[in-house]
């Protein structure tokens, strides 16, 4: 495995075995996360962003969620571990979780346990993965609070979550996540529940800490503004599949997939009074997907072939892939 690649996801299939049938939440997804880069995941609700992230954490909703195929190779400094081959409850994956790969969630108000102090919750992580004394763990926790710019950390450390605001709680979550200096931070809509000024502060903080701690970030969001602000590369998902993957610049200035173009048309641009055009129609139910391209019923450019045959992945450039029949004149790739 290339030294520069931290996580390599290949043909990941994460399905839910429900009473109504097999829900293919993540279907045949391939992507890489390189060291120290920030990859953004966008797409409408229900397209499989969170399940992709939880597959990497091996924390799928139980009892229904299961990885049916594919590999997730985690490159721990030359020692490659396939996360899908590990028992989700066993020790091996638990020593990666929170230690090498950490995750923060959308709801800072409910992400912390109300009955323990923030200090206890940060120290718990530190003491789980590092053999340090209680006193050292506390010092480390205070240091982490300083990193996430919590004022009066010596005092705040003994406070309970209900004494803190939403923005502060998300900072605490970041402190917990980074306390073991992970190689990868997965942030699932970390600022969706926060207001705009707090959002900007949290995003700034994440960027700053990324430089300090040298880690990769996978950021999941609905918000192309966040994507533009944070990411080096973008992966666009639709109905459990990746439909476009490109550098952030290409996604904004040279989007290829009609879905990506639709998403871009539906965001407000600062200082521009253009009318927003939302994508017509809605995401299909994963249990009754259309034949051919899943986007065809909503796609303004759909051709005949789109309704019968699923498009493969076409390589626009080395770094730009698009799963759409409009580009069948370029080279077809498996990834």
């Amino acid at each position: 495995m290339n030294k520069n690649i931290l996580v390599e996801v290949k043909n990941l299939k994460t399905y839910f075995d429900t009473d109504d049938g097999l829900v293919k939440a993540v279907d045949n997804v391939c992507f890489n996360v390189k060291r120290d880069e920030t990859v953004g995941f966008v797409g409408e609700s229900g397209c499989g962003k969170s399940m992709t992230a939880l597959s990497i954490m091996s924390l799928l909703p139980q009892p229904r969620g299961k990885i049916f195929g594919g590999t997730i190779n985690y490159n721990a400094d030359g020692n490659v571990i396939d996360i899908t081959s590990l028992d989700p409850r066993a020790k091996e994956i638990r020593s990666i979780r929170g230690n090498d790969i950490a995750m923060i969630f959308q709801e800072p108000m409910t992400s912390l346990n109300p009955v323990y102090t923030v200090g206890e919750q940060i120290m718990e992580s530190i003491r789980l993965h590092q053999k340090v004394s209680k006193k050292d763990a506390r010092e480390k926790a205070i240091e982490m609070l300083k990193h996430v710019r919590i004022s009066a950390p010596e005092k705040r450390i003994d406070e309970y979550p209900h004494e803190l605001s939403g923005g502060m709680r998300q900072r605490i979550m970041i402190a917990i996540a980074l306390s073991c200096e992970p190689k990868l931070l997965i942030a699932d809509e970390p600022t969706t529940a926060l207001d705009v000024t707090i959002e900007a502060q949290i995003l700034n903080l994440m960027r700053e800490l990324q430089d300090k701690f040298k880690m990769s970030i996978m950021i999941i969001t609905h918000d192309l503004g966040v994507i533009g602000e944070m990411t080096d590369r973008v992966i666009v998902m639709y109905t459990g599949k990746i439909v476009e993957e490109a550098s952030t610049d290409d996604i904004f200035y040279n989007p290829k997939h009609p879905y990506t173009q639709g998403l871009l048309r539906s965001i407000p641009i600062l200082g521009q009074k253009k009318r927003l055009i939302p994508i017509e129609g809605s995401v299909p139910n994963l249990l009754c997907l259309p034949a051919g391209c899943y986007f065809a019923p909503r796609c303004p450019c759909a051709k005949d072939i789109c309704r019968v045959k699923e498009p493969p992945n076409f390589m626009i450039t080395e770094e730009h892939y698009c799963k759409c029949w409009l580009y069948d004149d370029v080279e077809e790739v498996t990834h």
Binding site: R89, R94, M103, E107, L128, I176
Partner: protein, 327 residues
């Protein structure tokens, strides 16, 4: 914390004063008193000494005075430890009530302990094995326990005990120990008898508590902070016991204070069937025959017990949940 408890104690005093006033009024509400009936009875027989005796009693407890004065006499004696006479039993209330109250507390606390010790582990098991075979079996047994009335369960136990184990069930002591002074052997005998009322009285509560614990824990396991705990790399055992159970216990502790009256009143029927020397049957009798000092004393002691139970529940709650302020 200290201020919190002091404040609660003051509230308790106020509550008890109100309970005593209203209790006294309610007990005196039905027309006529036990003494009136007795006096009429004695007068029809024409006896004079007894009538004099009764007049004496009347004077002693101020029954010829206004209700307000009667209350004052009763409550000031009560505080001094003189609870008055029981008219039906013709002995001081204090002697009647003492041991019974002790056994009631013993059975109630025993029942509570039994309920919690059985229900919480089963609730945890059921929630973490939702819809698996074990959970289904416990659910079935739980509903069975909820639907069987206590007196029936008591009778079933008596029959099984008598027929298969040749052991007379009922009461809290074997005949040999009934009147013996307290000794180690008597204590053992007591515990041998005690588990039956505890199981009988506790079954329905246990079944209910299992459902509540299971539901709470399932709710908590869906909370975001549980996912956070898992994402740290904690083992499932730590996630469940350290992060989930403590939060799931919270609503149970809130009901703790309220479950005490349910246990005390719920045990009355059982106590009658099992012939237990607890307060239930006696209280019941005292109320029926307007034995006012006996009934009043019961009312006071049961209220005090309840209020103490509530205080304990509140202190526990404040201890498990930092969001509750002591101030």
């Amino acid at each position: 914390m200290l201020a919190f408890i002091t404040r609660r104690l003051i509230y308790m005093m106020i509550t008890i004063i109100f309970v005593s006033i209203f209790g006294f009024i309610i007990i005196n509400l039905p027309p006529g008193t036990y003494l009136d009936v007795k006096i009429a009875e004695l007068q029809s027989k024409g006896g004079t000494t007894s009538v004099e005796q009764i007049e004496g009693l009347k004077r002693r407890y101020g029954l010829d005075k206004s209700l307000y004065e009667q209350y004052w006499i009763w409550i000031s004696n009560f505080v001094k430890g003189d609870f008055g006479m029981s008219f039906i039993y013709d002995v001081p209330v204090r002697e009647l009530i003492g041991p019974r109250l002790g056994y009631t507390v013993l059975i109630s606390l025993g029942t509570m302990l039994f309920t919690w010790l059985v229900a919480i582990p089963i609730g945890i098991y059921s929630a973490t094995h939702q819809y698996k075979i074990g959970d289904n079996i416990f659910t079935f047994i739980g509903f069975l326990g909820l639907s069987i009335p206590n007196f029936l369960l008591a009778l079933i136990f008596m029959v099984i005990g008598a027929v298969y184990f040749n052991q007379p069930i009922g009461g809290l002591f074997s005949d040999a120990f009934a009147d013996a002074p307290m000794s180690f052997a008597k204590l053992i005998d007591l515990f041998k008898h005690l588990w039956i009322p505890i199981v009988v009285v506790g079954t329905a509560g246990t079944a209910g508590l299992i459902r509540v614990m299971r539901g709470n824990l399932l709710d908590i396991l869906n909370q975001q902070y549980i996912q956070t705990a898992r994402a740290k790399g904690l083992s499932e055992l730590v996630v469940i016991y350290k992060h989930a159970v403590r939060n799931a216990l919270h609503p149970l502790i809130m009901t703790l204070g309220m479950s005490l009256p349910a246990i005390i009143s719920g045990s009355t029927v059982t106590a009658i069937v099992l012939n237990l020397p607890t307060t239930g049957p006696l209280y019941f009798r005292a109320l029926r025959s307007q034995d006012m000092f006996l009934a009043g004393s019961f009312l006071m002691f049961l209220s005090i017990l309840l209020i103490i139970g509530n205080l304990v529940a509140d202190i526990l709650l404040a201890w498990v949940d930092p969001r509750i302020k002591y101030e």
